[in-house]
Structure formats: structure tokens, C-alpha cells
């Protein structure tokens, strides 16, 4: 598939989504009532997404990617901070308005195998959101279902409509999940690890498809992944997350070619491109493991593992966002 053209609508008009100082904490209780602390899954995140823009959130397991996604979808209430969509704050929406909002934001959830109800066929899976959102005319529903199946390249529709999820390959199941996310004609799609459970060759196919639909429909796409090597062709900007925070943001090429934050640098150094010479090289990797989100380290959250950490600074004060290169932000004291 090569028909897509890169779209860069960054900076045009008002942002579609704007997130400021967002915190999503999960209270931990013992015996159901004794408060023992909070898991700070999202801990102070701010950004804006333009209409038609495709961005990637990248980070290791447990850094808060899914929690962020679910907060943006209105599934978690922020502990602090705000999510605004098309100028309106989610916090101020009534239950009905929140339902309308969810129709505007398609969700491709992590784990496609658990995402589809096993006892419904494809026709029913795709009809459900239409019914919930009041499309009563059956013929109209059918037209939309067929159109969206065609869009995700599950054709002829007749063949797939009566199938149950277990009759489909992993890649086909993921196409159904994407079709379901698209069927209410959202303005934005949040895709949480849309391909991590799929085989390598199928991954590319699904990512190409998502990218194609995104450019065709001029959707905003937030694509969550732990795999930095797969973002180059599928997003315009990258947000690197570590322990509940965004530590670095820039355009894809800029970030991959000139990583600024020590965490991003170690992440990139750890990733191999296929090359027989790898077998004899030891990779530079930081020691230790990501911190507990119950008690994140003081100062920079990466300082216990950082090869450049400066005592008396990195372990004391939290680094703000610096702009070491134009349009390239990194939260690290090295740039001060």
C-alpha cells in the first residue's frame, strides 16, 4: 500500500484535544478501606493534538500508556488536571454528553483477542454501537456496516458478516476491532498497542491500514506502542513516556535521529535492527528497573538509572521541559 501521503496539519487552528497537567492516580486500599497510597499511573502530562494529526505514545510496560488512553476516553476520572475535546472540558460533561463524546473517539483496545465478544458475529458486533447511539433504521445500519468492512478490507462483506471472532485470524479480528472503532465516524482514534499481539508480517499490514484510514478520513490518531522501531512511518510526532510522565516530544524523524533525553537514548540503543554483527556486540543498557509508581523517586524519575545523573540536582528537583532543539522538548537537567 503506497497511496497515502504524509499529512501535516500541525498547528492549524484550535487543537482537537488538549490535555493539561493531567494526573490519574489509583488509590490502593488494604481490606477495601485502609488507604495505603496511590499508584500515580499518569502524573502530570500536558499536550495538544491537532485535527488530522497522528502521534505515537511510546514507553515500557507500566509507564501509564493505557491509563492515559483510558483517561482521554473518559473511562477514568482525572485525579487532577483537565482533558478538553474540541474546546469543551470532559469534566463538565453530563452522562449523555459523555456518551456522545465516546462516539467521537474510537477506541482500539489493547489485546484484540479479549476485545471482541466471542458469542456475537461480525454483523452484530458492528451493529451494537449503532443501536446504542440510536441508529434505528436497519437498512441504514447495514449500509454503514458494509461500508466500514470495505474500508478495513474485509470483503466481500457477505463472507465476514456471519463469522464469529474465533473463525477469524488475528489480523482479521483486529480489522473488526478497527471497523468497530470507526463505525460511529469518530474524529479521533486511540489505538492502544494495536499490533503487539500480531505476527510481524501482519503488523505492517494493520499499521498501513490504520495510517491509510487516518489520512483518508483526516482523523486524529493516537497510537500507543512499546515498540519504537515501528513508529517511523505511522506517526508525525512521538511522546516518550517514563513512569507516568512524558519525558520527550518531537517530530518522529527529529526524535529518532536526535534523541535528547537519556532515557530515550538508552531505549534506542537497546533496539536492534537485523544485522549479523549484533551477535558479537554488548549493548549499553542502564541498570535497574522502572520505579514503583507508588513511590516514584524524587527529582527526575530516571535519575537512579541515568548514566548522566548529577548529584544534588537530578535527585532533588524535577526537571522542567527544556527545548534543546527547535520544536524538540526534553525534561532533563542536562539541557539547562
Amino acid at each position: 500500500m503506497s497511496e497515502w501521503q504524509p499529512v501535516t496539519i500541525v498547528g492549524h487552528g484550535e487543537p482537537l484535544l488538549s490535555v493539561s497537567d493531567l494526573h490519574t492516580w489509583f488509590e490502593l486500599r488494604q481490606w477495601g478501606f485502609l488507604r495505603v497510597g496511590a499508584v500515580r499511573a499518569v502524573d502530570g502530562v500536558s499536550f495538544e493534538l491537532a485535527r488530522g494529526e497522528s502521534v505515537a505514545f511510546v514507553g515500557e510496560s507500566g509507564c501509564g500508556k493505557s491509563s492515559l488512553a483510558r483517561t482521554l476516553l473518559g473511562l477514568h476520572r482525572p485525579t487532577r488536571g483537565e482533558v478538553r475535546f474540541a474546546g469543551r472540558s470532559l469534566g463538565g460533561l453530563k452522562a449523555r454528553e459523555l456518551q456522545a463524546y465516546r462516539a467521537k473517539v474510537g477506541y482500539v483496545q489493547q489485546d484484540p483477542f479479549g476485545a471482541l465478544p466471542p458469542f456475537l458475529d461480525v454483523r452484530r458486533i458492528l451493529a451494537e454501537p449503532l443501536i446504542v447511539h440510536g441508529v434505528k433504521d436497519r437498512a441504514q445500519r447495514d449500509r454503514r456496516i458494509r461500508a466500514v468492512l470495505d474500508e478495513v478490507r474485509l470483503s466481500p462483506a457477505e463472507e465476514f458478516l456471519p463469522k464469529f471472532p474465533h473463525m477469524l485470524s488475528g489480523g482479521q479480528q483486529q480489522r473488526v476491532v478497527i471497523a468497530r472503532a470507526l463505525i460511529l465516524e469518530p474524529a479521533m482514534i486511540i489505538a492502544d498497542e494495536p499490533v503487539s499481539m500480531l505476527d510481524a508480517s501482519v503488523r505492517v499490514e494493520i499499521l498501513n491500514l490504520l495510517r491509510h484510514i487516518q489520512t483518508q478520513r483526516e482523523l486524529t490518531l493516537a497510537f500507543i506502542t512499546h515498540d519504537l522501531s515501528s513508529v517511523r512511518h505511522y506517526a508525525e510526532r512521538i511522546f516518550v513516556m517514563y513512569a507516568g510522565r512524558v519525558v520527550e516530544t518531537a517530530g518522529v524523524k527529529e526524535l529518532l535521529d536526535h534523541p535528547q533525553h537519556p532515557y530515550t537514548q538508552s531505549l534506542l540503543a537497546a533496539i536492534a535492527d537485523p544485522d549479523a554483527a549484533n551477535a558479537t556486540k554488548q549493548r549499553e543498557i542502564p541498570g535497574g528497573e522502572p520505579p514503583s509508581l507508588l513511590h516514584p523517586p524524587k527529582g527526575c524519575r530516571f535519575h537512579p538509572r541515568c548514566p548522566h545523573a548529577m548529584a544534588g540536582l537530578c535527585d532533588v528537583d524535577e526537571p522542567p521541559d527544556f527545548e534543546p532543539r527547535r520544536g524538540h522538548y526534553s525534561a532533563c537537567w542536562l539541557h539547562r
Binding site: 508480517s201 505492517v204 533496539i271 535492527d273
Partner: protein, 324 residues
């Protein structure tokens, strides 16, 4: 066969009986592994990689329909051995398997230090004190602090548990270690740490490895040689440099082109279609319906054609007479 050959596998088959028919998970596989060599078995989900490992280690489920072929470890024919002598003389001691997802299969109520030396305690009746001294050694070898000997599996991170199961595989100093997807559940940095460790172990211990993975980039982190599987068969086996720079089989070429690269502008190309069912695989080349070079002859089962010293390709393009 070279005198450095450690393992030789010839025409190995492992078929399962199911209600829907016979699943030909391993269907005529041949390769060899030399001393201190790492062979990577690469292939997509369901192509038979774990089944291959299970056939080699004789950990077979009840519904086996057929196991056949020859597996020779340093002159000993393994498939002909009785279960009892295989368990006593080969398993753990000469050849160890780290099964897929085994880091999550550690016994949650036994301290990891005890678990690691179980092979020695059970197979060799080592006394506890001697076994625990060995546990200290293997923990140091795999880079887990000996403070963790007394911990339970759930108190360890995923990366540490993976090191623990690796320590267990190494405890009886086998000549060959088979690792089934040892890093696929781990994060990038943890994964890189494990691969660093495997490289070091290979250099320091002189062990041979069979590393099973679906990830092309990971495979290049250890491979001296690569065997690519497709639908129960090996379609190409080659030296790592050859495989990564000039793959021969059309599937190898397409697989290499589908890999996203971090450091190159190269746009990954999908491989359209799906692998055939192993219930009734097609009689000709199993890759034929996805292959851009498919021609008339591909309706017959291709031979495993020799291309130079230790390289083989299962594709008619490389037969005498070429693509006619």
C-alpha cells in the same frame, strides 16, 4: 558432518492427532548445530517452533500422532533411547530446554534458589549443601544477586525470573541449551539485558544454543546461523551474515522486507495472505500462494536444495534448471 557437529537432526516429524485431523506441526525438518554455535529458529506464530523444541527434548503431549526422524547428540541417537535413559542421561545434563513462558511457570511456593538446583537434587541426588553452593554459582553467572536465592518467584521482576529459569537450564552444565522465546514477554531494555547475557554465556561457557523466536531483530542478537520455518518446515537455513544480507528463499526475502527498521528510512512491506493450515497443507510448496515468484514446478513439493557449504533452501528457483 564435521567433527565439530554437536546435534544433528534429520527428517524430523511431529504430528498431533486432533478431532479435526492430523496437525503436521513439524514436517520433515533437518539441520545441525556445531559446538559453541547459536542457531536461531525463526518463524511466525504457529509454524511449529515450539513443537520442534518439544520433539528434540521429548516433552510430548498425549495426543501425539507420530514422531519420527533422527536426532543425534554427539553420536548418541536420541529418538531411539528409552524415556528413562533419556531423562537420566540427556535431559538437563547434556541438553536443557527453557520452555516458552516458563518464567511464569516457576512454582510460586518454592524459593527460587531451591528450584534452580532441582535438576541436580533429583537427577544426581546431590546433597542440599552442595546443591546450594552450585545455586550461588549459577545466580552469579546469570547476574542475579545471591540475596534473591531465598525469595519466591512473585517477588522477582519478569527479567529476573527469566534469568532464574536460565540459571536452572545451566545448572547441570549442558552442552546445548534450547531457549523458546526467552524475551518476547519482556520490555525492550530487559530484553537487551537478557541478550547481552546470552552472548556472554556463549563466549564464556562455550555452550551451543538453539534460540527460538518470531522476532527477526532479536534473532540477529545471537545467531551464528538462522533456520527459517514456515508451516512446519524449514525453508532456509543459512549463515547469519548471508541470511540477513542476502536471503535466498522468497519468504526469507519478504520477511526481511517486512521488518520495521529503527535506523533506516526503509518502509516495511507487509506479506499479504496467511500461512496454510497444518491440518492439510498443500502438496506443493507451502508458500506458493503468497509467493511472487511462484511458477509451474511449485505445484510439486520442493526439495531442500544445497546452496554452498552449509546453506539450504526449500525452493524450486534454486534447483537445477532454475525457474522453468
Amino acid at each position: 558432518m564435521s567433527d565439530r557437529t554437536l546435534l544433528e537432526v534429520e527428517d524430523l516429524h511431529l504430528h498431533y492427532q486432533t478431532r479435526r485431523g492430523v496437525v503436521r506441526a513439524v514436517d520433515g525438518v533437518s539441520f545441525d548445530v556445531r559446538r559453541n554455535e547459536a542457531l536461531v529458529v525463526l518463524g511466525e506464530s504457529g509454524c511449529g517452533k515450539s513443537s520442534l523444541a518439544k520433539a528434540l527434548m521429548r516433552v510430548l503431549p498425549r495426543n501425539v500422532h507420530q514422531v519420527s526422524g533422527r536426532v543425534t547428540l554427539d553420536g548418541t541417537e536420541l529418538l531411539a533411547m528409552s524415556d528413562e535413559s533419556f531423562r537420566r542421561d540427556v535431559q538437563w545434563v547434556r541438553m536443557a530446554l527453557v520452555m516458552q513462558a516458563s518464567m511464569n511457570a516457576l512454582n510460586p511456593v518454592v524459593r527460587v534458589g531451591e528450584q534452580v538446583v532441582e535438576p541436580l537434587r533429583v537427577l544426581r541426588q546431590w546433597p542440599r549443601a552442595r546443591a546450594m553452593a552450585r545455586a550461588v554459582e549459577v545466580f552469579e553467572l546469570v547476574g542475579v544477586s545471591t540475596d534473591f536465592l531465598q525469595r519466591y518467584p512473585l517477588e522477582l521482576s519478569g527479567g529476573m525470573r527469566q534469568r532464574v529459569v536460565l540459571a536452572m537450564a545451566l545448572v547441570a552444565e549442558p552442552e546445548l541449551v534450547i531457549l523458546d522465546e526467552p524475551t518476547s514477554a519482556l520490555d525492550v531494555l530487559t530484553q537487551a539485558g537478557i541478550m547481552n547475557l546470552l552472548k556472554r554465556l556463549k563466549r564464556e561457557l562455550g555452550t551451543s544454543f538453539i534460540l527460538i523466536t518470531h522476532d527477526v531483530a532479536t534473532s540477529s542478537e545471537l545467531a551464528d546461523r538462522v533456520a527459517l520455518m514456515y508451516a512446519g518446515q524449514i525453508v532456509e537455513v543459512a549463515d547469519a551474515v548471508q541470511f540477513f544480507t542476502e536471503p535466498a528463499h522468497p519468504y526469507s526475502k519478504m520477511l526481511m522486507a517486512s521488518v520495521p527498521r529503527l535506523r533506516q528510512e526503509h518502509r516495511p512491506e507487509p506479506i499479504l495472505g496467511q500461512p496454510p493450515s497444518l491440518l492439510e497443507p498443500p502438496s506443493g510448496c507451502r508458500f506458493a500462494d503468497r509467493c511472487p515468484s511462484c511458477f509451474k514446478r511449485c505445484a510439486q513439493d520442493p526439495k531442500f536444495i544445497r546452496l554452498g557449504d552449509r546453506r539450504r533452501v526449500r525452493c524450486w528457483l534454486y534447483a537445477e534448471g532454475g525457474d522453468r
